[in-house]
Amino acid sequence: MVPTHYYLILSAVLFGLGVVAFIFKRNIITIFMSIELMLNAVNLAFVAFSQALNKLDGQIFVLFVIVVAAAEAAVGLGIIILIARNRHSLNVENVDLLKL
């Protein structure tokens, strides 16, 4: 059986990749995908703990996270489409009208 900390290390690596991509990427869709990556990294940690502790709580949480992620995808993609239509660009640097 794979030890729990393997899962956790993988989860941390995925999450770190997500954060880095979130910060350094300019394409909105890529940023969006990096958010999904972070969410799923967390999911992985949840199920790992769930198995290690032999409790169902973690798995239930994962279901919640998936639901929220789905909702977020619906809203987020809608926003992205609107931005693309209005700005003819997906570069996040161009979305800075609130800047002083």
Binding site: I23, F24, I31, V92, E93, V95, D96
Partner: protein, 658 residues
Amino acid sequence: MSILNYLWIIPALPLLGSALNGLFGRKWPNKIVNTVAVGSTGLSFFAALEAAREFTQLAPENIPWVKQYFTWIVAGDFRAGFDLQVDHLTVVMLLVVTGVGWLIHIYSTGYMAHEGGYYRFFSYLNLFMFFMLILVLAANYVLLFVGWEGVGLSSYLLIGFYFLRKSAADAGKKAFIVNRIGDFGFMLGMFLLFKSFGTLDFVPLFAKAAPMPPDLMGHLGMFTVACLLIFTGACGKSAQLPLYVWLPDAMEGPTPVSALIHAATMVTAGVYVVARSHILFTHAPTAMFVVAIVGCATAFFAATIGLVQTDIKRVLAYSTVSQLGYMFLACGVAAFSAGIFHLITHAFFKALLFLASGSVIHAMGGEQNMQNMGALSKKIRWTYLTMLTGTLAIAGFPPLAGFFSKDSILLNAYQSESGGRILYAFGLLTALLTSFYMFRLIFLTFHGKPRYNEKKVHVHESPKSMLVPLMILALLSIVGGWMAAPAFWGAPDYFAKFLEPVFAQGGVGNAEAAEATAHALETPLAVVAVVTALLGFIVAFWLYIKQPGKPEQLAKSMRGVYTTLLNKYYVDEIYAALIVKPLLWLSSSVLWQVVDVRVIDATVNGIAEGATDLGDGVRHTQSGNTRSYAVWVVIGALVIIAIIFWPYFRVATVGAVR
């Protein structure tokens, strides 16, 4: 239904008139404004008459008649209610205020007919009536003070009636501010009374005060201080030294206002308050002495200024100040009923004189300088006759009203224990001056040669609405004093008798012994007074009719005295230098430039500038760049994690070192 149960109707009627005219009068024709204003005061007068009739039928134990309508202020033990009170003094004041007020309203309909702001004038005038009635009907000092301030407000509004003229607006402000100084004293007096007696209602307050031992002469006990403070307020309202300066300037208002407010009623409020508080004053001989001295000094001082003024209304204004001094002199020698008596006769003849002078000004098309008048007696016969009546009354010729009241004051002053002879001497001297300046006014205005351009000025007699009030007031100026006449043949003075229930409570003392000596003195003093008045007349006649060039020669030969008098002893200039200038300096160079600009504004602006600077600095974190926000989020998350896990890290590292 008895009006005594519905006393509030008497002041409410003018208030209603004021509200109607003030709210809707702008659109109404003059006739409706007239009807509302004159009607409401007229009804109020008749209500007062009815109240007086019912009052005379009251049983003595029901007097003073106090009616509590509602509680206005409650705070701890303190209660001030909308309570109205009727006693003998109130009845007298009520009739004078509503009666004279009504006549002046009627007169005003003629005098103001061609003026702008007609409805505004009557709205203010009615408002004044309301507050004056509250003042005389009030059953406690607090409600009295409401009326007191209210008449001050109306006075301010009416003095500044021609508010486009700067001098009028300034005069209004001056009146208000000078009165404020007096009111300050009045309020302190009220506070002291409440602290000492626990109530400000007249009946219980005076009942508590009456049995208390009086203050000693020369000691500043509670009574003395309270009385002096109240007298300060009276000085402001009744234009006594040193607060009289506003009254002459108040002549900037329309003439009916001068007659009603600045001669007949409002300015007598101070005398009324002193008379109302007579029980307190009789407990404070020092305060009484001060009242007498101030009254006497004011009477003399103002009369000397009146000698040389050339503006017809100003002469009358100084005469008013002088006559008010007489009233205070009477109060100061504990002759309260004599003071009130003079208040009433003065209300008649001074209202008459002012209204007649208004009629003269009306006839001359707005001219007020007596040096540009002369020889008007033929052209405005009725005005002349009525004004002459008023002059004879104020100069103290028997059997006119002024003779009886002035005589009664002089007699009481003569009998007074503290400095009576000196007070009497100055009173008599003032009577001489009064007679002189009044006849000077008559001769300059109505006799001699015309000194105006007869082609330009079309002299015309005033309309009936102005003449009828003049005639009624002239009649009152003649018969108004006869109530006191029987004193000369040994019968009781009916006026003093009527007021006795009010003024006897104080226990003024051996009234009967005084009466006996009074009878012995009455006739000789009266003769002296009449001779004095005659002397004034003769001097004026000689100077202004026989030797018309003489006054100028006299003025030249006594240049110093003349210019001092003409400039009113430079009192206004002295006040300006001693009080107004330093205050202005303090306000502008200290309070404005330092306290306001450098402290208050600097604090407020400093806080605002600090916030701006802080914002300027923090603003740079809001780049508008989504990715930089993401970095902040990550940093924040890391910081939170670091804080949460810090203890475990430490345990781990410490454990590793060991």
